[in-house]
């Protein structure tokens, strides 16, 4: 057995880096095949013969958002699966504790009627909103041109589903405590028709129908999701004034996930902002989507009790987020 066997210090593709690669880089980079040939992202007939190759060429290779090597993108959290499940298991244990404790003290029975109105109209229908966010993240992860982006969007999708299920859970609890109300029955109708939710629904539907990957990322992660999350933050903050400490605490916890989405989104903007026209491309998309987002925030927040100034605060936070991005002058 004279075969000469030699080892290597790290993956050849990471060898040029000065720093020793982290576990995240070792297990998350270069694991995708589609970002190779402009006409042939997938190993079948090139565009236009194969519709999916045409789709990828149009929406990724020919996107106004350009970078010579998307594989170089890194999630600032360096989140990997085994850390994701560990972290979220801890968070879910905390949420279980919250739910258990509040159930124990019969929390829902003590909620005021005017607050229950708010929950019925503005909280429990949000499981549809979470579905839209789940679907939006699912589009991103399947279209993005690097595996590090797929991972970040994949964990984001998991988060959206997390809160979809938690809202469903709370919906059932509220129904049990207040069977005479519309909990668990009227959410779909309200999502489709209640005035306060139509801005968000419009924003979500139009975001979902956006397929250029750069614009889809901008529409979802820089505008629609942060806008939706800001309305959630306001709902949570109003909850405190109506002694719904459970919802307030749940929202606080949800915001941890939202912050993570913003961190990787910010990093992606920073990663590509210096290249070509990317700054103005992203800014252009933000400008295009912000009127819808502002409308969504205004209509939602207007339905909150004691809502004076609330929408302005939420919109200002969204602007502040945009100012924090490296496209900002």
């Amino acid at each position: 057995m004279a075969v000469n066997v030699q080892g290597m210090k790290t993956w050849s593709k990471l060898a040029k880096n000065k720093r020793r690669p982290s576990e995240y880089e070792i297990v998350t980079t270069n694991l995708q095949t589609r970002n190779r040939h402009r006409d042939q992202a997938y190993e079948l007939s090139p565009a236009p013969d194969l519709a999916m190759n045409e789709w990828y060429r149009k929406n990724v290779f020919d996107s106004p958002l350009q970078h010579e090597d998307w594989e170089e993108f890194r999630d600032p959290d360096q989140l990997i699966y085994r850390v994701y499940t560990r972290t979220q298991d801890v968070q879910e244990s905390y949420v279980d504790g919250l739910l258990d404790d509040h159930n124990e003290i019969d929390h829902d029975a003590g909620l005021k009627p005017e607050w229950l109105d708010v929950l019925e109209h503005l909280y429990t229908p949000r499981r549809y909103l979470q579905t839209a966010l789940q679907m939006g993240a699912a589009y991103l992860l399947q279209i993005v041109p690097a595996s590090t982006l797929t991972a970040a969007a994949g964990f984001q999708e998991g988060d959206e589903f997390r809160w979809l299920q938690r809202i469903a859970y709370r919906t059932r609890e509220l129904q049990t405590a207040h069977p005479e109300r519309g909990f668990a029955i009227k959410e779909r109708e309200r999502w489709e028709k209640h005035e306060a939710l139509q801005g968000l629904r419009e924003l979500m539907e139009l975001m979902l129908a956006t397929y250029d990957w750069g614009e889809a990322f901008t529409a979802l992660n820089l505008v629609a999701k942060p806008a939706a999350d800001e309305t959630m933050r306001e709902l949570g903050s109003t909850a405190r004034h109506y002694d719904d400490h459970l919802l307030a605490a749940l929202v606080d916890n949800q915001m941890r996930d939202c912050d993570r989405s913003r961190r990787w989104s910010t990093a992606l903007v920073e990663f590509c902002a210096g290249h070509g026209d990317n700054k103005s491309v992203i800014q252009g998309w933000i400008d295009k989507w912000m009127p819808l987002a502002e409308k969504a925030i205004i209509t939602y927040c207007a339905a909150l009790p004691e809502s004076e100034g609330v929408a302005d605060t939420a919109i200002e936070r969204l602007h502040a987020y945009h100012r924090s991005l490296s496209i900002s002058a």
Binding site: R34, M52, E54, E92, E104, T150, Q165, R188, A209
Partner: protein, 497 residues
Amino acid sequence: MALLKMEEWYDLARETNWTPSYASEEELYPETMSEDFGIPLNVWETFDEPYKVSYRDYVRAQRDKDVAAYSVKAALARAEFFKNASPHWKALLALHFSAVCWAEFHSASCFGRMTRFGRAPGMRNMATFGTLDEIRHGQIQIYFAYEFLKHDAVFDWCHKSSKTENWIIISLRHALDDIAHTRDGTTAGVMLNMGLEQSFTNLQFVALSADAAKCGDHSFATMLQSIQTDEARHAQIGEPLVRILCENGRKKEAQQMVDISFWRMWKQFSALSGIGMDYYTPLEHRENSLKEFMEEWVIGQFGRTVEAMGLALPWYWDYLKHDIATFHHAQQIGVYVYRATQWWRPIASVSPAEREWLEEKYPGWNDTFGKCWDVVTENIRNGHYDKTVPAPPPLICNMCHLEVSGVAGGEWQPVDYHVDLDGRRYHFCCEPCKWIFELEPARYKGHRSIIDRAFDGTIGPELDDFLNYMGQSEPERGVCGYDYQWIDGYDTPVAAE
């Protein structure tokens, strides 16, 4: 009063379809990505996943699984095992990890397709776990592979291979892109889950895990089993989809999805797992052959699953029964003789004792495939190493992108399967591969196999050009894993060079 049970709220989390009005159905579910097969939405909404899990329970269970798989003790045992592992086992590990790490990670995107463009809320949710699972499977396997890199550079291909033009990678990419990545959300759901996960992952993970345990690689075995528990869960997306299609007048389409995807995956598993099980697993640890595994797990178990869903067995089922005893033997010869085109160190695995095992498991092996090995063996015994490498390139199938082969020796009955289209001749290894091409020629006709590329000038004329094109620098070209010393088992010693 305490926490609600999952079944008390679960259904609400899958009542999540709404009627859009700001964007049209067509805008939200474009044809390329989404296909409802004319089945009304309220029918898709009846999708009922057999295995239900909440996000809360998912993250807990997955965390626990990973704590076991990533333990430091396991890592030390793995390193020790690898140092003492035979070239057989190293070849198996290199082949396995170079193919599966990116393939699994990439599947996260297929589940993303199902989540975004499928119509059933239950499927949307299950596919979300599917996406997370596949990220896990890519990451945990490449983590394992990385531990071996410091001992052996061939493991660099576990990371590098995804974007290379190596012929084996092209073959795998072509198959996976066909069934999982270029189909609408529903079709991808049926094809990936029925054609790959329900049918074959058992083969790769359960069978390989059993072999690994026997070889003393317990942490590899545990990791593979742990992956298979995820596969078994998310693979269940396929069945309810097939039922909905069958019950709503789309049985023909469902049948075709299963028939295409199963065949495409069979060819991949035949070559990769078949060689792994019957040749690369050290003899003393081999029990079942690929054929026996296939008969039990696939022909038996998967066949029954297919029929229980109301589908027929694929039309090529009888041909498959023949193929499970032949195709991978022919591929093994090709992989060994064209070894420079592999990034790992191929194993011949035809010492006298190994031939005995092959003959026992595949009666007639010596008179067929064994005849080719006789020639290779003789050449090595006479020191004619150069004669063990054929000069002409092989003919590659324009569907599975593996070598066109047959049964060697007395049973050699070459059949020329081809299609002429738009002035080009496409070659196939078998009737099912040709059948798939003819169903949708536009999907496939523009693709060029590695050999097409050699002849159309994409690749330069020299062997070096070919290997460099495939991403293989000189040290990355496969050599015999035993430096021909497997020949020592024969009565005549190796002739001096």
